[in-house]
Amino acid sequence: MKMLLPFVAVMALVAAALMAVNVANLHFLFGVAIPYIAFAVFTAGFVYRIVKWASSPVPFRIPTTCGQEFSLPWVKQNKIENPSTATGVIIRMALEIFLFRSLFRNIKAELRDGQKIVYGSDKWLWLAGLAFHWTFLVILVRHLRFFVGDVPMSIAMLEHLDGFLQIGVPMIYITDGVILAAIGYLFIRRVLLPQIRYISLPADYFPLFLIAAIVVSGILMRYIVKVDVVGVKNFTMGLVTFTPVIPATLMQGNGAWFFLHVFLISVLFAYFPFSKLMHMGGVFMSPTRNMINNSRMVRHVNPWNYPVHVHTYEEYENDFRDKMKAAGIPVEKE
């Protein structure tokens, strides 16, 4: 169920798009209206979520320290894993965001021979996760060629790099294969590892299936069904300049694949702010990672700190004055 439902949902989305375009001729709705709406939902939703996080306070300074703190001058501090300066935090965060540093620590615990627990390095998730995200990013950046008039050098270079294993025409992008493999791994591990399957929700399968469908429809268009690329560029330029046009070449034949691709991406965009995909924004704001470990050096202020009931020394001495005097412990009031 947890897996089937999201699968059916994604298949339904695919069918809906293909039928809408092929049968009902809803090109404008699926090519223009929905993408605009999706983009608006994405932007508003993303901003809303970030603002909501940002407006909830960080009452305490709670970094998770993963190395030696700043201490005596001769004790070697781990300036990145236990930062005492903003620079340290910036490097720590950069390593998290670009290299998934914490995931790189991953180890696997195993009960061996029914009597001892051993730990082994386990970097596959890190590798697949990194491959997935980086290829996703590269593909996203490559797509910018459709949204700018003249393709900038940097994007052209990226495309060139990505396609350096030139195999026939069109050039085959390495990222296309890698992202499929990575998604495949992330999916298979979710299904095969009993503990991971146990914690998985439909909301964990859905984005995987959806992104896989986007990738597959993209690959189909590029290598197999061959959509009119010039038409696509005219279309996307129309979208970004708010003068939407649907070129005739896309209205017929293989053009439907393009509308499918655009529709699935729209769904991903609209779904994004309501889902776990918001980890993209959240990772920057995690107080256990983005704070300086200097709470004994610099006072951290809690905006909602309030006075509390305490049991004062005076009350304490009133309770125990005689016993204190008898024991020779000094008191305030004889």
Binding site: P59, G67, H311
Partner: protein, 537 residues
């Protein structure tokens, strides 16, 4: 309740298979030896907690107050508004499972609800159902569920199977700290009067009498005097510490556990001997006689109420700065919370060691120094005369306590000290020390006796690493800097790795410390004959 009698070889038969039913459809069984008794009503009355009532965890009906549901949901709403950590950690988990096998309770029990991610999902599912649009519409499809009395029981059971050790947070790609979720859950459960006896009792004691054990001022003094007799027997030296003395330069605060039971008492003797040898101008306090803070395991407010005594006493006595003893959660609180709650501590001075002149830059705002920092500095500056050979009967390994490792980062100072007072030191495997250290298994107020199975299961990963170095290097002493460790590791090591003892770092210092005018030592701090000295006397 029957006594806990399971043998280690049976307990280690851990079943890691997941249940046939989904976790939301798998009812929670409150199992004997895995949970703690409920607290006494009078203890909660002392600190004026809400919804105090008599109940027992093993009963069907927990007698929840009539508006329990609204209380919890309102409580969640408040906490979500107050803590970005809570809001964020409810929102961004991708269920990658990197944290799953990092929790000592999961490793030791195999119970999937002890995977940090699932522990947090127990709360997240209710969050989704009540605070998110997707959860309200899609219900179970979005991983949401209704809040029911069974959910409250499940929370209680599993959030008291988390020791807030933060090991999961080290491995999470977003730093999601399940300890933070547990802290919120415990706040919420306290709104319904669902507290543990082992937490409620110490909290009430600490509030009224200044320490968890409820030692009254004269008893604190006589406990210390008892140590002084032993010290005299060992060294021939008479020590005269002071209590509640105004005008002392330094206030010394340590967990009360060290005044009460072995092996913590040996650490306390170590402090007394070290300070005497240095001629330190310091005082103990009977009012601020607790470094630890069990309030931290109930609510943020209670933690602050208990913690207030330290600064208040420092101010009353007019000391310059504060020195803190060996403890774990005490240092999480002092390092990451105290100044924010009670500061600024402008009535104190930036701490400077009167012996070496070293400025403790890292404590310049809070003005409280950890004794391991203090002693490491003494040794580095050659201020102590040490005879390492007096620890030659010991093969030592060092256990980082969760809080000083992951909530502070004090890793090297204790190691430096141990290496300077002992000849035989061996690290446990890399994946079980420093930031990856394992909890003793009984932190956050779970060190009761009725939950012994839970404690032994949670203590397995640590004990297992001790066993490794015992077999490889003959380790017979597990050193640490935590009062709870000293009490709890003794039990779990005794269960899993019999023949290994547990000590505080300053016990080892005291053994090695050559004091002015001492007689030739024939006994160690435990009043046991020193090796090679049995015959010569």
């Amino acid at each position: 309740m029957a006594k806990f009698t399971a043998k280690p070889k049976d307990l280690i038969n851990i079943d890691y298979t997941t249940p046939k039913t989904e976790w939301m459809d798998t009812p929670t069984e409150i199992r004997e030896h895995m949970f703690c008794h409920a607290t006494k009503a009078k203890d909660l009355e002392t600190v004026e907690f809400p919804n105090i009532h008599e109940w027992r965890p093993q009963d069907e009906d927990w007698k929840l107050p009539a508006n329990w549901e609204q209380t919890i949901l309102q409580g969640m709403q408040d906490l979500l508004k107050k803590y970005r950590s809570f809001q964020l950690f409810m929102d961004i988990c991708v269920r990658c499972g990197a944290c799953a096998d990092k929790c000592h309770f999961f490793i030791g029990s195999g119970d999937p609800k002890n995977m940090p991610v699932l522990r947090a999902e127990l709360m997240r599912s209710v969050y989704r159902g009540n605070f998110t649009l997707a959860g309200k519409i899609l219900k179970k499809l979005a991983g949401a569920r209704k809040l029911t009395p069974a959910v409250i029981k499940e929370w209680w059971y599993y959030f008291y199977q988390c020791t807030e050790c933060r090991r999961c947070s080290v491995f999470c790609p977003y730093g999601i700290d399940t300890a933070e979720v547990t802290m919120m859950a415990r706040e919420l459960l306290n709104l319904l009067g669902l507290q543990l006896g082992w937490i409620g009792g110490p909290v009430a004691n600490c509030y009224m009498k200044g320490n968890h054990l409820g030692l009254e001022p004269h008893t604190i003094k006589s406990s210390v005097e008892f140590f002084l007799d032993d010290i005299k027997e060992i060294t021939g030296i008479t020590i005269e510490p002071t209590f509640n003395r105004k005008g002392a330069e330094i206030l010394f605060v340590t967990p009360s556990g060290d005044l009460f039971a072995n092996p913590g008492t040996y650490t306390a003797m170590g402090y007394l001997m070290l300070f005497h040898e240095l001629g330190l101008d310091y005082t103990w306090s009977t009012y601020a006689s607790e470094g630890g803070n069990f309030g931290f395991f109930t609510s943020n407010e209670m933690a602050k109420r208990l913690n207030s005594k330290i600064y208040a006493e420092a101010k009353r006595l007019g000391v310059k700065w504060i020195l803190g003893g060996e403890c774990g959660h005490m240092w999480r609180v002092i390092h990451q919370y105290m100044d924010t709650w009670q500061g600024p501590a402008d009535f104190l001075q930036e701490p400077v060691s009167p012996i070496t002149g070293t400025k403790f830059e890292n404590a310049k705002a809070t003005k409280m120094v950890h004794i391991a920092e203090f002693t490491a500095d003494l040794i580095k500056n050659n201020k102590l005369k040490l005879d390492k050979s007096r620890n030659d009967h010991l093969v030592v390994t060092y256990h980082d306590s969760c809080n000083t490792a992951r909530g502070m980062g004090m890793l090297e100072e204790p190691r430096y000290i141990i290496n300077n007072v002992c000849n035989h030191f061996h690290e446990m495997p890399e994946d079980t020390i420093k930031e990856k250290t394992f909890c003793c298994g009984s932190g956050t107020g779970l060190n009761a006796s009725e939950n012994m199975e839970l404690r032994m299961r949670g203590g397995l990963p640590r004990a297992n690493a001790v066993k490794f170095v015992k077999e490889k290097h003959g380790v017979n002493m597990l050193a640490n800097v935590c009062a709870i460790d000293r009490a709890t590791l003794s039990a779990s090591v005794d269960y899993w790795v019999p023949g290994t003892a547990v000590c505080g770092t300053h016990e080892l210092v005291a053994n090695a410390l050559v004091m002015k005018g001492e007689k030739e030592r024939t006994l160690d701090i435990r009043l046991e004959p020193l090796p090679g000295k049995e015959a010569s006397e």
